[in-house]
Symmetry: C2
Subunit: 78 residues, 2 copies
């Protein structure tokens, strides 16, 4: 089953990459604010159904994909 | 208006970060394949409506956020 995980820096956590993106976009003339950069991880997971896939990916997030101290994650199933 | 942009390596493009994630997940005992890692960029954009926001962010993607030779992008509006 195809699963996407969105990992984002939590509110209040410094995000230098987001700051660089925002500053570059402004220099290009765009009117933007609050730019934040995170990761998207696409995976093909062995699972019988959506609930099992979600539980497995949740475990992956805890063990490897996200750092819960500074990042939040969101699991997207088709 | 809040906008999220998902930037992913195109099919066929080498993705060492995805390979590292897949190999680490397997070592942890997970049964996964096709791991790919991209970026998610969250932005607050000045726009009157969704169509204007999408057009602006599309221009941002062409000019800065994505490299169209090796990356595809997807714009998500609320």
């Amino acid at each position: 089953m195809k699963v996407s995980v969105l990992v984002r820096p939590k509110a209040g956590i410094l995000d230098p990459q987001g700051e660089a993106v925002e500053s570059s976009l402004r220099k290009l003339g765009f009117s933007v604010s609050d730019a934040r950069v995170g990761r998207v991880v696409d995976l093909e997971v062995d699972a019988a159904d959506a609930a099992e896939a979600r539980a497995t990916v949740d475990e992956m997030c805890h063990k490897l994909l996200a750092n819960p101290l500074i990042e939040s994650y969101e699991i997207e199933l088709p």
